[in-house]
Amino acid sequence: MFFSFLNKNKKPLSLDTRMRSAWHRQFSLILGAIKLVLLSAISMLIYLYFGSAIEGMFHKSEPLTTQQEKVLNAKRIQRQMEAEQEKIENGIHLATGLKVAEGWDVVRTTCTGCHSAALVTQNKATYSGWKEMIVWMQETQGLWDLGENEEVILAYLTNHYAPNEAGRRSGLNIEDIEWYILDF
């Protein structure tokens, strides 16, 4: 009865029949609209689940070169690592190796713009020693005037990267030696 409009090519209909077919037409229009909504919802769902697979059937997507794959993979790892690196373990900021203490963020933003933080963390100096390095960088390496940050940076470096008394020569650092059995 949903297909009553097929009747239109047949013999003329009685008034009663016409009345009925008018109601039918209304009803089938509503049903049609519902069907349309349902169908589009289903196709939306199908597309959501299988869209990419279907697209893949038609689109022969260009195969990624190994290099591109590696770069993409590296970008993914980069995101993971960046999140990982922002972690602080045992008071050390993993990304930079800087000790986390007052002023460390200023040191990070100021110093690592040009060079690696490793250049900070591997050095040790007194207040005047660190000051000299800043002046040297300003005179020869294009470092800008640090303004009020200079004292913050100097206090951090002096407190956390100070020289320790080592005498004329230290003994071998026994705790650092990785002992192994030598077979020969």
């Binding site: 590696k70 250049l119 040790k124 004329r168 030598l182």
Partner: protein
């Protein structure tokens, strides 16, 4: 026997005091390696994306093998110790320098700036220009022209960073805290600088040859990163090369591809990389890192920590006598019944090493090692010995080279200098005999 016991007690005291002093500073080597590796990961991953324009060629994230936490720098052995990732500075652990000729992937990296990215095409179009006040004319050569117009030579030449061993100076000196591994000896192939200088011609006013390379400043500014030089006498030495090959291969990009100077026995900073121009000067070359305190030491010996005026600092020329035990790696545990073979290399700047000794009793007695002749002038020499330990216990093997002039390596740190150059104190490794 009592005497020996005494000796052993002394050695224990020595070890103990060493431990208390925590000499190597706030971070242990292991923790340094840990943080070092993290920052290296940081560089390898972040540099190409965040600071792409400052990043050297080849330093792309594909270097990373996440599963193995393998990190490294292009064309280099993963176990090189990265001291600094921007600019790249990496040294070779002693046991990786065991080869007679240092392989390209184990040769240390000391960069002052960012190396240029040089493609093969660019290398083919690479030119070296020569000029300067004391040059008779301005001349330019392509690498192909250098190869065809001049005789090619190969020499084994030792290159050592002037700051190798800096980490042991006290008061500390600023800069990359090199331990022992900023040294290597490779077979370099190229033309003699002498032949090039003679082809260009120079006046009798010529005193110095300065170089310029194509590396760029880490700050991104267009200032010259480093432009050092050598006096004419060294420039005219037969072994001073303009090289395009290292151990028969293309020079690694971080070591100066496609063209570099190789000045054996002098601070490696004399051996300009990514070489693009030479200037024959009528005065001492005055490029960046020639003046002030860079690559200079006090003309007269000074007390540790003293401030020295620039005018009292003199340019370093020949490097001092030095040696390195490359086998075994420190930390070896052996049985008393085993005789331990040791070996390594010795070098002495412009001079030859005359004698090599080792001590297993903290320098109280010395025994002579077998020492080879250098394969050519300015190449390092190889030593070896076999050690029978008298009893079980903790030992250190100390190595001491003596050069032709009778100068030997000191046991303690030599003369302090503001920038921490020329530490040639004897190399030490730890051994346990059980």
């Amino acid at each position: 026997m009592e005497l020996e016991n005494n000796t052993f007690d002394k050695s224990n005291q020595y070890v103990h005091s060493g431990k208390e002093a925590e000499p190597m500073g706030l971070t242990s080597r292991r923790s340094f390696l840990k943080t070092g590796s993290w920052s290296a990961i940081g560089s390898v991953l972040c540099v190409p994306f965040v600071f792409e324009k400052h990043s050297p060629a080849g330093l792309i994230p594909v270097q990373i093998d996440f599963a193995d936490e393998q990190i490294g720098i292009p064309e280099k052995h993963p176990d090189l110790i990265i001291l600094n990732d921007r600019p790249i500075n990496a040294e070779t652990p002693p046991h990786l320098l065991d080869d007679f000729t240092t392989p390209n992937d184990r040769f240390f990296v000391r960069n002052n700036g960012i190396p240029p990215e040089v493609s093969e095409i660019e290398a083919n179009n690479w030119t070296l220009s020569i000029g300067g006040e004391a040059a008779k004319q301005e001349k330019t050569f392509s690498i192909a022209e250098l190869k065809s117009a001049f005789r090619t030579y190969t020499y084994h030449l030792t290159l050592e960073c002037g700051g190798n061993g800096r980490s042991e100076f006290n008061p500390p000196a600023k800069g990359n805290q090199w331990r022992t591994g900023a040294v290597g000896c490779a077979a370099w192939t190229g033309v003699r600088l002498k032949d090039i200088l003679e082809s260009v011609g120079y006046t009798d006013q010529a005193v110095y040859v300065g170089y310029y390379g194509k590396d760029t400043h880490i700050s991104g500014s267009d200032q010259v990163v480093i432009s050092r030089g050598i006096p004419m006498s060294k420039a005219l030495q037969e072994e001073t090369l303009i090289a395009w090959a290292m151990n028969g291969e293309q020079i690694p990009q971080l070591n100066g591809y496609p063209l570099r100077l190789v000045v054996g026995g002098w601070p490696a900073s004399c051996s300009g990389k990514w070489l693009s121009r030479l200037v024959i000067r009528d005065k001492i070359h005055d490029g960046p890192k020639m003046k002030g305190q860079s690559y200079r030491v006090p003309c007269q010996p000074v007390a540790p920590g003293i401030k020295v005026a620039d005018k009292d600092m003199c340019i370093i020329e020949s490097m001092p006598v030095k040696s390195l035990i490359t086998y075994p790696r420190t930390g070896a545990t052996i049985r008393l019944t085993q005789r331990l073979p040791i070996r390594g290399h010795a070098w002495a700047g412009d001079l030859e090493v005359d004698r090599m000794d080792y001590s297993i009793d903290f320098g109280q007695t010395w025994k002579e090692c077998t020492l080879s002749k250098p394969i050519n002038k300015l190449a390092w020499q190889h030593f070896s010995a076999t050690i029978q330990f008298p009893e079980t216990g903790y030992y250190e093997i100390w190595a001491r080279a003596t050069d032709r002039s009778g100068r030997a390596q000191p046991m303690v740190i030599p003369g302090w200098n503001p920038r921490g150059y020329l530490n040639n104190a004897c190399h030490r490794i730890a051994i346990k005999v059980v």
